[in-house]
Subunit: 198 residues, 2 copies
Amino acid sequence: MSDSSLAPWRSLLAGALHRNRSLVYARYFQLATIAPDGSPTNRTVVFRGFLDPGDRVQIITDARSEKIPQLAADPRAEVCWYFPKTREQFRLTGTIEVVTATTTDAALQKARRQIWHNVSDGARSSFAWPEPGADRADAAAFEVAPLDKTTPLDSFVLLVLSVDRVDRLQLRGEPQARQIFTRGSDEKSGWDTREVNP
Amino acid sequence: MSDSSLAPWRSLLAGALHRNRSLVYARYFQLATIAPDGSPTNRTVVFRGFLDPGDRVQIITDARSEKIPQLAADPRAEVCWYFPKTREQFRLTGTIEVVTATTTDAALQKARRQIWHNVSDGARSSFAWPEPGADRADAAAFEVAPLDKTTPLDSFVLLVLSVDRVDRLQLRGEPQARQIFTRGSDEKSGWDTREVNP
């Protein structure tokens, strides 16, 4: 079996996920995007696996969140993912595709439905809550009966990050090890790897 | 004793730091800034306390890091700080002042020297290492004798974040609690507080 089609950083990231699996929050990372006024924004989101096949990273969000107009105006993003147990950081730089109820690409729509099906009842219900960021609604507005698992609400959005560059830093060891992976001309993997100073 | 001069989010952040103190990495947060091409960048940095007096957040970095030209072109930044134990997130939005060896403001220069004095020998030595991000240097280039604690190297830079807005999300509880603090007209604290939907 060959994994030559996988990006070289992918097995390193899989290793970090495995070795940090006892920490639920090792599956959280910080996603930076750009506001319409050009200022940086940054929030914690949950890793929802890779889009199969390939190396694109899946995230879910609410269609009414600030990320949506931001990404419509500028799809560029940088993920910063710190793994506490192994003390390593991955910075994933790329662009995000927004997959909504009206997306026609069948594979992306299938992935959106699959994740909707797999998340918890509580997570699904949150997409029927009042508008995020608006003045606090009454408690009753948050009481949502369990939703149908087969049809995502329109507010349920899948974000798919295509990664162009990965900067991996291992804090263990002195001096620390650091590699930068960029899409390149390597025939086998399609990625160039460079060892750099931390 | 009154703490009326402290921002209302400050005691909440102090509480989170205290309740997460068993986790060394609860003092790490992710800092998003803007690259010269307008794309978002994001990396983990270490909280170095508040600049006394007041609510400005201190971070240290290397003068040769990518942050420096980025902040010179655009001082806007957003910190995303997730506390695993209490499951709460603070997003701190503001602008960063860069304090270098040539900064003339006496209070800022004093803070820079104080932090240089307080960090570990290993942390000080890293500022004498070869250029961050350049092709990996030989191991010998990273062998640095302990440095004088009183005079920071020119590569040692203090970043001071002035916070204009704080977005606090508590994941515990359903629905989650979320408050947004903005600089405002409140006479006592100088901040407006709004409860919003998560």
